[in-house]
């Protein structure tokens, strides 16, 4: 990661938007969408500059694909899985429409409802909870997904279930907690300001009371993947660069092959998924205290990269190709046979790749003095059964890293394609 990138991330976490706005303005790439105050609203010039590096810019809500997948990974995450609690199909459809309206407003930097802060007058509960008022859009994306359980007999959606949307099988070593697993729906809110991401989820959950209830949720404080070549590779909680070989936004062929569902993939009731993507979420607790006592050599052998540069073992630079045949000075493979990068590499998995979009998390401590920390693994793909499942089977069987990690939450969701003007989330599913 470049120093510039690091300083921005730190700045954002430490001192909020005022400082960030300064940095962005200094970089000369800013198109700030102001939220609430009148400074940038009516008088702001139309957006012309590319917003790729403007941390407070607004990301377009509508498009061919949902935002929040190949969008350059923002720094903060609030993810929530929900269960539908109503039995009324019409209520669910209406909520998806209401969510669309609120989500589009919030991603533009606006309140969840018009006049949401004070417009209802003194006697009403305000329609917007208010904590993001005056903050910029902060790159907020809101991505929705539907879990396998949504397609049971409750809402008449069984015939709409995409063939590729299946519960994940059990993997060797899984320690899944039912309270962190599954869900009828999910919302992934990513932003460069944690307050903006939390505000988005909070307001959507509030709109859903009586229709949906939160099943579990996860905050992520730092991205662990780059989804664009414009981004430096971040580090995970083991201190290693993570996601160097990720599928990137700048690889249209790779995205078409590995990430987006193609029109021919689903020809039956699941045809609405064309242009969508499947999301696999895994909460991976890392036993970081144990890891931290492990020698550098052993850490690097387990991962298969050097810690400082992130280069594959036996090579010099981060983006050098992995050479699995190369021998080290001891005559053994430079990248050990059970190293994580070898087991997870496409060459070992028949060409499988996925788009990773995970986040570091820590949920405080675990009651015995250890940090409850790890990686909230999020990955987008065209077919989990052909991509994540064989990849995780291979890792669960042999990865030495398993001694230091524990998968304790899991879910899979079908994330529909993007919305055109005038469309809302309920339409594809309830057409």
């Amino acid at each position: 990661m470049s120093d510039e990138g690091l300083s921005r991330r730190r700045l954002l976490g430490a001192s909020g938007t005022a400082a960030v706005a300064g940095v962005v303005a200094g970089a000369g790439t800013a198109y700030a969408v102001s939220r609430g105050d009148d400074a940038g609203a009516a008088g702001a010039p139309p957006s012309t500059a590319a917003p790729a590096l403007a941390l407070d810019a607004a990301i377009p809500f509508r498009g061919e694909h949902q935002a929040g997948i190949v969008t350059p990974a923002q720094d903060r995450l609030h993810f929530v899985a929900l269960d539908v609690v109503t039995k009324d199909r019409a209520q669910l459809r209406q909520l998806l429409e209401d969510w669309t309206r609120a989500a589009e407003r919030m991603t533009a930097g606006a309140e969840a409802a018009p006049g949401g802060l004070v417009g209802g007058g003194p006697n009403r509960a305000p329609e917007d909870t208010g904590e993001a008022y005056g903050l910029p859009a902060s790159g907020l994306t809101i991505t929705i997904g539907y879990g396998p359980s949504l397609f049971d007999d409750r809402f008449g959606l069984a015939s709409k279930r995409p063939a590729a949307l299946q519960d994940l099988p059990a993997f060797t070593g899984d320690q899944l907690d039912p309270r962190r697993t599954g869900g009828d729906l999910c919302i992934q809110a990513c932003a460069n300001d944690p307050q903006v991401a939390v505000h988005a989820v909070r307001n959507l959950v509030r709109l859903g009371f009586g229709v949906v209830a939160v099943r579990w949720s996860q905050l992520g404080f730092g991205r662990t993947s780059s989804t664009s070549t414009a981004q430096a590779t971040p580090r995970n909680m083991f201190g290693f660069k993570d996601g160097t070989n990720n599928v990137k936004a700048e690889e249209p062929e790779g995205l078409a092959q590995h990430v987006w569902v193609a029109p021919d993939d689903e020809t039956g009731g699941g045809a609405w998924m064309a242009g969508g993507s499947y999301l696999v979420a895994r909460r991976i607790r890392m036993h970081i205290e144990v890891w931290d006592r492990t020698s550098l050599q052993e850490q690097e052998d387990i991962i298969g990269r050097d810690k400082k540069e992130g280069a594959p073992l036996g090579r010099a630079k981060e983006f050098d190709a992995l050479d699995f045949a190369k021998k080290g000075p001891d005559g053994q493979p430079a990248i050990p046979v059970h190293a994580h990068v070898r087991l997870a590499h496409e060459s070992q998995l028949g060409g499988i790749r996925i788009l990773r979009r995970g986040y570091n998390f820590t949920d405080g401590s675990d009651g015995v003095g250890h940090l409850d920390a790890g990686l909230f693994f999020l990955a987008y793909m065209r077919d989990p059964g052909r991509q994540f499942v064989p990849m995780q089977r291979a890792l669960a069987k042999a990865d030495v890293l398993n001694e230091y990690i524990e998968h304790n939450g899991s879910a899979v969701f079908a994330c529909p394609p993007g919305l055109k003007d005038g469309q809302h989330w309920g339409q594809g599913l309830f057409a």
């Binding site: 009148d38 609203a41 009516a42 004070v118 009403r124 009586g210």
Partner: protein
Amino acid sequence: MPRPALRPAARAVRTAVPVALSLAAALALTGCADKPTATAGSTAAGGGGGPITVNATDTACELSATTAKAGTVTFQVTNSGSKVNEFYLYAEGDRIVSEVENITPGLSRELKVEITEPGTFTTSCKPGMVGDGIRGAFTVTGTAAKGSADSKVAKAITDYKAFVASEADEFVDGTKEFVAAVKAGDVAKAKSLYAQARHPWEAIEPVAESFGDLDPKIDGREDVIADGMAFTGYHRLEKDLWKDGLQKDSGAVADQLLADVTEIAAKSKTVEPTALSIAGGAKALLDEVATGKITGEEERYSHTDLWDFDGNLEGSRQALAVLRPVIAERDPALQKALDADFTELSSLLAKHKTGADYTSYTALTEADIKELTVSLDALSEQVSKVPGVVEAK
């Protein structure tokens, strides 16, 4: 159960002033040299007359008239800019009188507003949906006839006072029986009377929370009694009956309880509610369930929390029942949702009843508590919309 801080329902609720009367004459305008400002012709449009056209662009908000006569005022808003636009009519304090949103470029939308009193308002176009928008003053003259629900509100207030009086009488009667059992040293009988004696109070508690120390003296938990105050009342006797056994002063505590209950019951009957305070009380009762009953905090020795839950829920339901004619007239969809959500929560709570008695809070599983919480959230969200519906228009 009183909280250390007064609940909103216990405070004097701010009276809603009819929109047009509360307006300050001068409104701050946001025009400055480098920013677009609202422009308009000076023609007045009559109430019920032709529409006022609003030409909304990315940089301007042009109205064909900035004054109108009271009555139904119609705005025809056309977005001739490149950003999604919105049009607002604000009263004082940016309170929205009416708005139309999601006007995409090229689209024209109509906004009809009923204004019965004269006053000065603010119009605003909001290109891009953010910020204060491009503002201008808008003046309404004259008055128009109101479509009022005043008589229905008056009836609701009368009905609610009758409900409070009946519950207050029941509270005194139940407390008399309970106190007699305590003084007779009949622990088993006192325990069997405890939860139901308190039940009427749990239904009307917000009415009387402002009567000084009386509520904490009657219903205070040991941990929230203020410094210098003795731990008395129902919860002190609960502790005696279920944990410590009857004490030397239990009889005196019981006598004081009856005196306090008699006093608070009499005072409760003198409270003059408003539609807003009734609606606020309905919400406050559900808040009590959420923060005290569903958590098992209120009845830490007897674990009769589900009785209190039932009392709070019944009180909330009755408060909204008296307001039904007003809600049903102004927002029939909300009334329908309230009916469905009250029914749902009541049936979930009833699952924990064996015969005429509720099971102990300690018998609830985590799944039971989540089921009740999810349903309570759904109901509470709807109930929180009632004050906005019954406030004076």
